[in-house]
Symmetry: C2
Subunit: 319 residues, 2 copies
């Protein structure tokens, strides 16, 4: 019998679930719709049914040691999801209690970025690091801080919300209710807003001018940048500038050995890594200059969020 953990990544649109061994091999993986479930109860039923389905063919081979859940606005201490703007279920959802009752197993909960940080430490490129941080670049921007070898949860359980610092005073309105928040600039949606700013302010031709706001994606901006589109390249430069400034701020807080970029935008490689590094260095206090590595995540991207969630189990109970 092989010890495994169940990893669950709850996103606004889909939720992924996987069965993961202690080396980070995902034995089985699947997903269900999140947004089709107006109530948490029906979501929970679908998810547990899906887990049964995944377990079935492995029944005699595996022993499930625990369940790790990554979710937006997740509170590690209370085991609840608190009023997540991108989820249908309002108020405080006692998700850990539900899973514990059902499975009689240890259940760990945190937000997706914290889960990514633990995943990086357990399976990824941060195995030997005690001080690092992970930035997740998706629809929004999340972050997970590890200091003294432990994830920083903070007093309420909401540490590591770098997306919600104000990086541009009187800047654009963020979906987080903050004017000029980092997430409003550095995220898939942030890049989309930036390219529309550029199309308004500048005169260069660009095929991106044929795409309406609703259909614009960071992937399309990336593809244009690959072809040398001036505005797309400028959008990457601006996004990187804001990210570099924010990372310099983060470094002055916890002095990490490395910063890992994770998620969709991070795949843009040198369009984002190189200029972000440059801007970070320019904004760093001299003691830190040249000392902080900026790296792509060491987790496989296809199921990284599930891996991260499952890693919560190994981190809590040991491998």
């Amino acid at each position: 019998m092989k010890d495994v953990a169940i990893g669950i990544d709850i996103g606004g649109t889909y939720s992924k679930v996987g069965i993961v061994d202690s080396f980070g091999n995902c034995l089985k993986e699947s997903s269900i719709s999140t947004k089709d479930h107006k109530e948490f109860d029906s979501f929970f039923e679908s998810l547990t049914a899906e887990i049964e389905h995944l377990k079935k063919p492995l029944e005699d081979l595996i022993k499930i040691t625990g369940i790790g859940i990554g979710a937006p606005n997740a509170n590690h201490y209370t085991g609840t999801i608190e009023d997540a703007p991108n989820l249908n279920w309002k108020g405080s959802v006692r998700i850990v209690e539900r899973f514990e009752k059902h499975y009689k197993l240890p259940v760990l909960l945190t937000n997706d970025a914290n889960a990514a940080a633990i995943g990086e430490k357990i399976y990824g490129a941060a195995k030997d690091l005690n001080d690092f941080l992970v930035i997740t670049l998706g629809t929004g921007l999340g972050s997970g801080f590890v200091a003294n070898g432990k994830l920083v949860y903070g007093h309420q359980g909401f540490a590591g919300e770098l997306g919600h610092i104000i990086i541009e005073k009187n800047g654009r309105m963020g979906t987080d209710g903050l004017r000029g928040s980092l997430e409003a600039y550095v995220s898939a949606t942030g890049m989309k807003r930036t390219i529309f700013h550029l199309m308004a302010d500048r005169l260069e031709e660009s095929p991106l001018r044929d795409i309406p706001f609703t259909h614009m994606t960071s992937k399309k901006i990336y593809e244009a940048a690959l072809k040398g589109d001036t505005l797309a390249l400028e959008a990457f430069e601006l996004t990187s500038k804001y990210l570099g400034e924010a990372l310099a701020i983060a470094v002055a807080h916890t002095n990490p050995e490395a910063i890992f970029l994770f998620g969709g935008l991070a795949k843009a490689g040198d369009f984002i890594l190189k200029p972000t590094k440059k801007h970070m260095e320019e904004n760093l206090f001299y003691l830190y200059r040249g000392k902080v590595k900026l790296l792509p995540s060491g987790l496989e991207d296809t199921n990284a969020a599930v891996l991260g969630a499952s890693a919560l189990v190994w981190d809590a109970i040991g491998k």
Copy 2:
């Protein structure tokens, strides 16, 4: 025999030394000049002579368990002071090694703000807190972060340098080499620069207009504010605005239960605490609003830095 620790606070002008019991009672305290010693060797000789002098009358009553040192640009891991701009001794000073050789005792080193944070945890108002931060407001601005009950040192040992984040892009030049760094606005020297800006930009009468730059102090601005001086009050408001913005950023990093303000400026009480709290709240992500306490330090100010340094010993070896 009473167990005691020696606390040493090395400042640019003076260095203080005290003998402190495990309850934070300072049994003996004294100081020597720092800046008169061009070489570290002569400083070390004066300091050890001073310690002998303090110990003498207590010789039969105390047992010294260790030595804690707070110093600018101090590196906890290497036991060195690294190129501190305000000290005469350039390069890397191996201060821990010198003290260990001389005293054959455990010697702990960190910067003054980290020492203040540990002092707050061991003797002060943070005894029961696992997640908090201390801001020291002096000539500069320092910070010490405690997360998961432990001081965050970071990879190089230089975590908690909130004074060196850029809070105003293209802002005033800081002595730290960064344009618009927090320390250039929120510190005794920062307030002095702010009042000169205000005197240049505005027309209100003020007795502060009779004081040249060289003689201006934050204490004089405070005294003017007490008498209702418009410009002085405005200087406190602006200083608090920058501090509030920075604290909101810090909260999004480590989600502390409380933030303690420590040092000269913190003594201005409601001139600084109230408006800083207001601006912090305005800039906070909604999950944090109303959840983070902003408090004056619980350490006695006259020898707080020495207390903080001595607390490093109890934190490392236990009381």
